[in-house]
C-alpha cells in the first residue's frame, strides 16, 4: 500500500497539456469572481468547487492509457475508460476533503489569519483524501487476503 512517485510521468506529459490546465484553471477562477460580483458571494461560492480541470485531466489520463495500448498494437478502447475511472475514484475521495476544506474556511476565515487558515485547510484536504484512499486500500487488501486464505484452506 505504499504510494510511490513516478517522475517519468513528467517527461510523458507535454507542456501543451499543462497549458490546457493553466487555461482552464485561470478561466474558472475568473468566472467564479465575475459570478460572485454579479450574483453575490452565495452563488459565486458554488463555483469554488467547480470540477475545473477534472474533465481535462481525466481525458488526458485516458489518452495516455490508450496510447500505451496502441504502442503494444492493441486498441485500448476498454483500458482507457477503466484507467480514467480509477482517476475519477481518487477524485471522489478528494471531494470529501474539499467539503472539509469549505467548512474550515467558512468557520475560521473571519477570525483567524487568512494564510494560516488556507494553508491549514489545504493540508487537512490532503490528509482527509489520503486517509480515505488508504482506508479503502486496506479494506480491499484484507478482504482479498481473507478470500485467498479461504480458498487455500
Amino acid at each position: 500500500m505504499k504510494v510511490t512517485f513516478y517522475t517519468g510521468a513528467l517527461r510523458k506529459t507535454q507542456w501543451r497539456e499543462f497549458g490546457v490546465r493553466f487555461l482552464f484553471g485561470g478561466l474558472v477562477t475568473v468566472a467564479a469572481g465575475l459570478i460572485a460580483k454579479k450574483f453575490g458571494p452565495s452563488v459565486g461560492g458554488l463555483f469554488l468547487a467547480f470540477p475545473a480541470i477534472f474533465p481535462a485531466s481525466a481525458t488526458l489520463v485516458a489518452r495516455h492509457a490508450r496510447e500505451e495500448k496502441e504502442q503494444a498494437q492493441l486498441t485500448g478502447s476498454k483500458r482507457a475508460p477503466a484507467v480514467a475511472a480509477l482517476d475519477s475514484r481518487g477524485t471522489a475521495m478528494g471531494t470529501v476533503g474539499l467539503i472539509v476544506f469549505g467548512v474550515l474556511a467558512w468557520k475560521f476565515l473571519p477570525r483567524h489569519n487568512t494564510a494560516l487558515v488556507l494553508i491549514g485547510s489545504t493540508l487537512v484536504w490532503f490528509c482527509v483524501g489520503a486517509t480515505l484512499w488508504w482506508l479503502r486500500k486496506a479494506i480491499r487488501t484484507s478482504a482479498w487476503a481473507r478470500r485467498r486464505r479461504r480458498r487455500t484452506a
Partner: protein, 114 residues
C-alpha cells in the same frame, strides 16, 4: 477591472497547474486522482477575495463552496460508475455530467443556502 481579471487568471492558472503537476507525480492512478479535487480555484479566489472584500465575504463564499463540493462528490461517483461499467468516452462522460454538478449544486443551494 481588466488588471484584476488578468491577476485572477494568472493566480488561478498557476495554482491549478501546480496541483496538477503534483498529481502527475504519483504512480497509483487512484491516488493521483485526489488532485483532481484539489482546492486550487478556492485557494486563488478566497485569498484574492479576502484582500478585496474582507474575510466575512470570503467566509460566505466558502459556505456555498460546501454545496458545490457535495455536488462534486456525487458527480465524481457518477462518472466513476459510468466509466467503469459502460466504458464510454471519457471526454463525453465527464463533460456531459457537468450538468449533473450544476443541477445538484443549485438544488443544494436552494434547499440550504438561499
Amino acid at each position: 477591472m481588466l488588471k484584476e481579471i488578468l491577476f485572477r487568471f494568472l493566480v488561478g492558472g498557476a495554482l491549478v497547474s501546480v496541483f496538477s503537476l503534483l498529481g502527475s507525480l504519483f504512480k497509483q492512478r487512484s491516488f493521483a486522482g485526489l488532485f483532481g479535487a484539489a482546492p486550487s480555484v478556492a485557494l486563488a479566489t478566497l485569498s484574492l477575495t479576502v484582500r478585496r472584500e474582507g474575510a466575512p465575504y470570503a467566509s460566505f463564499e466558502a459556505r456555498s463552496m460546501i454545496a458545490g463540493a457535495a455536488a462534486f462528490l456525487v458527480y465524481a461517483c457518477a462518472v466513476t460508475l459510468i466509466l467503469a461499467r459502460y466504458r464510454t468516452s471519457t471526454l463525453r462522460t465527464t463533460a456531459t455530467s457537468l450538468l449533473l454538478w450544476l443541477a445538484l449544486s443549485f438544488a443544494i443551494w436552494l434547499a440550504w443556502l438561499r
